[in-house]
Symmetry: C2
Subunit: 495 residues, 2 copies
Amino acid sequence: MTFLAVQPVDGQNYGSPIHEHSENEVRDLIARAAREAQNLAKLSPQKQAQLLRAIAESIESHRAELITSACAETGLPEGRIGGEITRTTVQFNLFAQLVETGRHLRVVIDKADPNYSPAPRPDIRRQNQPLGVVAIFAASNFPLAFSVAGGDSASALASGNAVVAKGHPSHPNTCAIVEGAVKSALKSSELSEDLFSVVQGVNPQITHWLANDENVKAIGFTGSENVGRILIDIASKREVPIPVFAEMGSLNPVFVTSAAISERSLELAKGLVDSALLGSGQFCTKPGLVFVPASSDGFLAEIKDHLATLKVGPLLSASIAKRYSAAISELSSVGAVKVLAGITNEAGFGATPTIFVTDWKTAQSHPALLEEHFGPTTVVISADESQYLSIASSLKGQLTATIQGSSKDSVQPLMQLLSEHAGRVIWNGFPTGVAVTEAMQHGGPWPASSTHTTSVGIDAIYRFMRPVAYQSFAQDVLPEALKDSNPWKVEQKIN
Amino acid sequence: MTFLAVQPVDGQNYGSPIHEHSENEVRDLIARAAREAQNLAKLSPQKQAQLLRAIAESIESHRAELITSACAETGLPEGRIGGEITRTTVQFNLFAQLVETGRHLRVVIDKADPNYSPAPRPDIRRQNQPLGVVAIFAASNFPLAFSVAGGDSASALASGNAVVAKGHPSHPNTCAIVEGAVKSALKSSELSEDLFSVVQGVNPQITHWLANDENVKAIGFTGSENVGRILIDIASKREVPIPVFAEMGSLNPVFVTSAAISERSLELAKGLVDSALLGSGQFCTKPGLVFVPASSDGFLAEIKDHLATLKVGPLLSASIAKRYSAAISELSSVGAVKVLAGITNEAGFGATPTIFVTDWKTAQSHPALLEEHFGPTTVVISADESQYLSIASSLKGQLTATIQGSSKDSVQPLMQLLSEHAGRVIWNGFPTGVAVTEAMQHGGPWPASSTHTTSVGIDAIYRFMRPVAYQSFAQDVLPEALKDSNPWKVEQKIN
């Protein structure tokens, strides 16, 4: 069986027929990955870093092909796809930089101490070890940076795991090119190509086969709360439950103060609309709720005027376009909601950018206004500024929460409250655009993510390792990273 | 309603009637804890360390009372209880040492960089923050060091969380004394006593009330795989799922080589039996499976002779005693199993230390031989040494796995394989006795624990915090630990 990609720009098929993986094939790929996993796990940090850099180079060498394929399959502009290729290679290179220091192994050596309290202690040495095979579910909205060799796969490979990645059926040709690039880097590094495989298909059972296979030791997932719940349910009912690192929904609320509007009304209006419409509103960090002070009529007029000039690219898939148009109809039908519109894109999976304006009382009685809607829309809610704290405390977990204010505002109470509900709190910025840095936190209280980890930035690597302590082994037997002679020259904390 | 403790030594009631908490009372204590949580969270690391030391001192000041109560309620000897009190205070003091450095906040500061690739980066600063209220379920087998103010509660408090702990009904008077000690330390530190509460009762619904209360943000649990699964199920079905850090079953297999037997047969036989019988065999790290080479008749005779001289203290509770005696009957009835016995303790919840000897083939066809049985028993399995690798790879996840060998053995392949199945791998030692050190790992693949964390040692603190990133905030607004001026003098990694 095969399936075909569909071009968002015109709804036509694109590329080669893609092989739909059967259950046997999926299980066979996982078994092959499991057989080879130890060969990756045992490499020195230096060799592992070399592999990560080789993958980055190999992906880079397919830049032209990837741009052609990903632009066609996602309808995203060339500049965005080019940036994503760069981000994908940067991610591998950042992990390489970390891995070659061995710092991610978090080696701690407690030497034997007969005088230790409450009891003499033996020699105990701990390091992080990879898990084996990790299953990664690619996101639709980042065809490279969060797809089959995106941040999740990069962090799983960087920590020494074999990866079986489920390609997203909305960009299968792009996934196939990336698969080839990674396999070719494995081959040139004299490692088995079985260490990285992509499974493809539109059959929803593939998700189950991956999540319940006994050789799969952890799951990385980016997608909806519904599918996240299904994965967590499958994973926790296994004979041996496994962790699911799911990054799911977020409304990314923005709180605008009246002082901010007084200081930079037009800049703010444009910035907010642009952030909500960026990538056709298909970022997990899209500002989906914007709180503005009551009596912000001038500011709302600026939002309306700016929006009226804007048209966005088509949505990523027919199903996203359908859900978007259903959501817009539903929200439009709520009384006491003003509907602002941009320019309709009629081609393919095109859509009309739409912003809803309402008040907090209306929003509270219409739950759909407080839900995430993928696509170029946001909900602007007017409220008394004195209500911001109670509004913030009523919100679910978020990837980000933003305050747009002035240096005259007393911002600390709101910032602190938002930090209890979000993984990242932003001052006078916009939530879209997630820097890939060490301090980045991309993940927050449920439903933003299922665990207290990050899926962006180098700390993502710690999701796919577990600590193992070695007690009283002789130097020549210990794993290399734990030896006193430290042949791998990794960072060791010695007590 | 009230209930009474029962003395293992004679089955008689002990101590005061203990108030059984109702649902309203449990929810009220959680709500109170939630209201106060922020007052603990916002303390400086130095003040938090002071509180932890004050708790340790307060517990120490109740030493005499605690020894009387815990010895009566558990039947454990005074030396053991005294050691546990010391371990409990050591745990608080170790966390104090860590917390005052602020290292646990894992502060990372990425300063703004307009030249950062793939895109300019804003100023991003990350720290770990406490979760709010953590529910801790006390273990029966450590009436102090893993009870209401044991390692789990200490790590939750040390990371700045309020704690509501469920006392184990087999040592309720001890739990009440500890509760008073912690509350008095809170009071003397000018903090609300609501930050730490103990709920007590024999009603199994208490577990549900704690696990599904919306103010509870994480669970720490030590107990059986069955109850662990129930907690994980409740926690994952909540509107807002929460993490469950469960430490559950482990068989702690020991692999003995023939070279080890040649070198130190008697010492080994005694050491193994003593480790299996320590604390009446009620440690989570008890060696529950011992693999010996075929034709180890002399060694088995030494085990038999040593066991015959030993008597253990009573079991912790009537239910443990009942399950132990049922398990012993079941295993004794398997054909092809030799039953070795120690001296029967007839008092109260006394039991007969019993060791089963069989071969690998028999063990494989009788699953009960490969399950955890709480109490003074272990299963010795003879196998060809060449089978050790395949046996090891067939085992479930373990807290520990041990090799008893000789420097003549090629130990690396077995050590590496065991490291894939256990949290701690031990050479020529015994698994009982878990040093409270930085490199310690107490937790392993399922069912040893539900996550890749440790519940013993200072890294246990990271279970109860989550990272939050602050983007572009002004210096005077940022949390203290993230300021350039670093008023708390915490460890900051600055990029």
